[in-house]
């Protein structure tokens, strides 16, 4: 398999993974906006995480930023797969930022809130997958 084809496969995979993240983050954003995260009714651990002060930044659900980030990754991966060179740099930058944010959110869940939300863990797994892809993509030079 030549390098160019391998790269296209990885970018396509990144786009597919980011779609799953987009669905997850959109769901959590809607939950945050309707106030569902401020009441108990489902998983106690999820509500402990999503109802905490760490789940919002300036009143905006953190998941909303995740939605934007996943959409950014999807867009950049799609353009990169179609050969837009500049999109690759933006993709790496976005995934790198998401990786750092994910580490912070995992730390908060593990050591501050002592509770894990399965939706957040799913998102963390996706971000780690995207990070692996970003590392694996062969350089164009």
């Amino acid at each position: 398999m030549n390098t160019s084809r391998f790269r296209i496969i990885l970018y396509t995979l990144a786009a597919i993974i980011s779609l799953a993240g987009l669905a997850d983050a959109t769901y959590l954003t809607v939950q945050g906006l309707t106030g569902e995260t401020l009441v108990c009714g489902g998983s106690p651990d999820c509500f402990r995480v999503l109802g905490s002060s760490y789940a919002r930044v300036a009143g905006i659900p953190v998941a909303a930023f995740g939605t934007l980030a996943y959409f950014g990754v999807f867009s950049f991966a799609t353009f990169a797969a179609f050969g837009y060179a500049r999109a690759r740099a933006f993709l790496t930058l976005t995934v790198g930022t998401m990786f750092l944010a994910t580490l912070w959110l995992l730390y908060v869940q593990a050591f501050v809130l002592h509770a894990f939300c399965r939706y957040c863990l799913f998102s963390a797994a996706l971000v780690f997958g995207l990070s692996a892809i970003a590392v694996l993509v062969p350089s164009s030079r």
Binding site: Q31, T34, E36, G42, F47, G51, S75, T78
Partner: protein, 231 residues
């Protein structure tokens, strides 16, 4: 030429389609998740009918604003609201009345026992002290393997007769009180905790924070007519 154009514009089309699909599905989900606001009928406020009078009440009967909370002692958001509600009671004084009703959720392991503990304390005239203590210590007892020992210790801290407290926790009277509240919750369409009504109108979950509740109370006081008092 056509292939070249398609390859050039296809990523824009794909990205635009995903953006549109995300917005539409998000909006549809938002509409579906936004539950209709619940209302408690006026006649259920009558004594014995399951309204404010049959819950645990703090405040004057002639208060302009009545808050009814369907709560669960093991629910973290309920615990988060407990002290802010106490503060609101202090701030609004005689204008505010607070009513608590039990709605222990089945997915909270010790919630029912906590409700029974509060009812056992109530039988010795210390419901509100136990209510506040259970919320304050929620993080301790909610994960304890032997929760009864802790509840007995709390009863001791409140100066209750421990033997009577233990017996009352098992009593039919305490169970009936909790079940009556649960029945009321079901009747009014309550499904989550905390569900809060201000002058019989449900407060939107998005307003279940100190500032949101204060705004809702101010609106209720400003409107002076219960029908248009909350979000």
């Amino acid at each position: 030429m056509r292939f070249f154009l398609m390859k050039r514009y296809l990523p824009f089309v794909i990205v635009a389609a995903v953006a549109l699909a995300t917005l539409v599905s998000g909006a549809m989900l938002y509409r579906a998740k936004r539950l209709p606001a619940l209302t408690i009928p006026e006649n259920s406020m009558a004594p014995g009918a399951g309204g404010a009078e049959s819950g645990h009440v703090r405040g004057r009967a002639d208060a302009s604003v009545t808050i009814i909370e369907f709560g669960d002692f093991q629910c973290p958001p309920c615990a988060n609201l407990s002290e802010p509600i106490n503060q609101l009671e202090r701030d609004y004084g005689a204008r505010l009345r607070f009513v608590f009703r039990h709605f222990p959720l089945p997915n909270h392991q010790h919630a029912r026992e906590a409700a029974l503990a509060s009812e056992a304390a109530s039988l010795q005239g210390r419901f509100w002290e136990m209510h506040d203590l259970l919320y304050r210590e929620q993080s301790v007892w909610s994960k304890a393997p032997d929760v009864r020992t802790l509840f007995n210790a709390y009863a001791g801290m409140l100066g209750l007769n421990i033997d009577r407290f233990k017996k009352d926790m098992e009593s039919e009277q305490a169970k009936a009180r909790v079940e009556s509240d649960e029945q009321q919750a079901t009747t009014h369409g309550v499904r989550t905790t905390p569900t809060i009504f201000i002058n019989n109108h449900q407060v939107s979950p998005a307003y279940l924070n100190p500032a949101g509740l204060r705004g809702s109370i101010d609106a209720a006081l400003g409107a002076r007519t219960p029908a248009s008092s909350t979000q």
